[in-house]
């Protein structure tokens, strides 16, 4: 062993002082479990995969050819931007121990507290930070789907940056950081509320304020290349295993069950959307089944650690049907232009999942009973969490968008929109030569 220690000095003489994550201070000698750590390292990698290239491609395929790079670069830049924001201040606001129950403080800003030896539960503390970072990233990236093909790139960056600090970090604190929603008993295993309802509402408010794309409802805005969307949707599905099963924060029975129900709900959502589309619109589309699978994944997110296979089946089917209705009926009735249906899928899907978690939760699986096991009040607890998130996300998004519009403007001008954002905002194009 001595030889290898020389080769890899880092393995030798590990810093002797362990700084325990405050929450764990009471515990006797928390120790890293290598298996749990291995799974969380993996989960972090595949949750990142969900955003780049997952979300990026899922959306890019639905854009017109002249905007495809602009869509891709949005997810990619957000990945960079939110990583730095999370390091500087986001993590601290979401997970530091503060006196109040609404938002953390600045104690952990710049990740000053991180050491190689610090432990959080059974995994290294820095791993928890970077795992959560990938959640902050994807939440912001999801919103862009509603704003595509017309928003100024600079305005978008200001928006998601501010939104992440003002909306995402607090809501995370409420649910997972020890804030008032976790106190109230709201169940949200992997982010149905924090990630999906939150981004879905922001998407809805922002796209209404931004206005419709030029030619919406008149010109042909059909998806230019659904191959990209299918790739993106597939990577979302695969990465979602990290999202949901990773949220067990260990490689255990809970993670395994979370993965199982995730798979079932995604499959059920895809089939449900396909079948209803087939019967109503006469053809089963690629965009449809992929959308349905994502709807199922969204809805199982809050439920993953709490329900069993049959609950997952029900949640997936209902999510597929409700989100189908949102994208094909509700949106056209309310006449807003949510480019790629972020609200219909993440907003409605997230709400569906959050409510149904309260219905299908099984005590033997996640420790909390749902309405079917007699605990009817869990549904109102869930509704409480949903309402709080909708209100805060909705209002704060409106204020941020308003402020940006009054300063640098949120939308590209008409000619730029016709020219396409790839060329106009980024000076690049897809070439056929």
């Amino acid at each position: 062993m001595t030889t290898i220690l020389k080769i890899f000095p880092l393995l030798g003489g590990l810093a002797t002082l362990f700084i325990f994550y405050p929450a764990l201070a009471a515990e006797a000698k928390p120790k890293i479990d290598t298996g749990d750590t291995a799974w969380l390292l993996t989960s972090t990698a595949i949750v990142l995969l969900m955003t780049i290239p997952g979300v990026a491609l899922f959306y890019a395929g639905m854009a017109r050819k002249k905007n495809v790079l602009s869509v891709l670069i949005q997810s990619f830049t957000i990945t960079c931007l939110i990583s730095i924001i999370w390091m500087v201040v986001g993590y601290s606001l979401a997970f530091s121990k503060s006196e109040n129950s609404y938002i953390g403080n600045f104690d952990l800003a710049f990740l000053n507290h991180l050491t190689t030896g610090a432990v959080n539960g059974t995994i290294p503390d820095s791993l928890f930070v970077v795992f959560q970072m990938t959640f902050a990233i994807i939440t912001a990236a999801l919103i862009t789907g509603a704003l595509a093909e017309r928003m100024k790139f600079s305005a978008l960056l200001w928006f998601v940056g501010l939104w992440s600090i003002i909306v995402y970090s607090p809501v995370t604190f409420w649910v997972w950081g020890g804030g008032f929603l976790s106190g109230a008993g709201v169940l949200d295993f992997a982010g149905g509320t924090v990630v999906h309802i939150n981004s879905g509402i922001a998407a809805l408010v922002a796209c209404i304020m931004l206005g419709k794309r030029k030619g919406y409802g008149v010109e042909n805005l059909a998806p230019h290349n659904l191959v990209l969307t299918v790739i993106g949707g597939s990577l979302l599905w695969v990465g979602w295993f990290g999202f949901n099963a990773g949220s067990a924060l260990g490689a255990n029975g809970s993670a395994a069950m979370a993965m199982t129900v995730t798979q079932i709900a995604a499959a059920a959502g895809g089939l449900a959307w396909m079948l209803i589309e087939w019967s109503i619109q006469k053809k089963p589309t690629a965009l449809g089944i992929v959308s349905g699978a994502v709807a199922g994944l969204v809805a199982i997110t809050p439920a993953a650690g709490f329900v069993g296979p049959k609950g997952a089946l029900a949640i997936g089917i209902l999510a597929g049907l409700i989100c189908f209705w949102g994208a094909t009926v509700l949106k056209h009735k309310l006449k807003y232009d949510d480019s790629f249906d972020v609200f219909a899928i993440h907003g409605l899907g997230g709400i569906t999942g959050a409510v149904l978690t309260g219905v299908f939760a099984v005590e033997a699986i996640g420790g909390t009973a749902g309405a079917l096991e007699g605990n009817i009040s869990q549904i109102s607890t869930q509704l409480y969490g949903i309402a709080a998130t909708i209100i805060w996300s909705g209002i704060a998004t409106a204020i941020i968008i308003f402020a940006i519009d009054k300063t640098i403007g949120i939308r590209v001008d008409k000619d730029s929109e016709i020219e396409g954002l790839d060329l106009n905002q980024h000076g690049e194009m897809i070439h056929g030569q």
């Binding site: 059909a222 619109q281 949106k331 249906d341």
Partner: protein, 112 residues
């Protein structure tokens, strides 16, 4: 000399080419075009939004021929592409002032 332009169904391209080669045509130029005519396009539905695609994919064939090849060329194209269904396409004949083969500088019938 005439420039004969035919708008045909994409699936007929190989047939037309064979027939034209058979009657002695040695060159032609094709391109992908979109046609609008009696043949209707189609509708695509994405997440409930309907898009009317009014144009149908077609192939345009351009063949420069000498005056005495005109009839046989038209006959060859017609015979190899006619199915009797709407959308079979059209042939347009234009008068060709001059033809030049770039490689040799030949002009007129020589150049075809």
């Amino acid at each position: 000399m005439k420039l004969i332009t035919a708008i045909i169904k994409p699936s007929k391209l190989q047939d037309v080419r064979s027939v034209l080669v058979e009657i002695g045509i040695e060159g032609m130029t094709t391109s992908e075009v979109s046609g609008f005519g009696r043949q209707k396009g189609h509708t695509e539905i994405y997440r409930g939004a309907e898009y009317e695609i009014s144009f149908v994919p077609k192939i345009k064939i351009e063949v420069a021929v000498t005056n005495d090849q005109v009839d046989s060329t038209i006959e060859a194209i017609t015979s190899s592409t006619r199915t009797g269904n709407i959308g079979d396409g059209k042939i347009f004949v234009l008068d060709l002032d001059q033809t030049i083969r770039i490689r040799t500088g030949e002009t007129g019938n020589e150049a075809i």
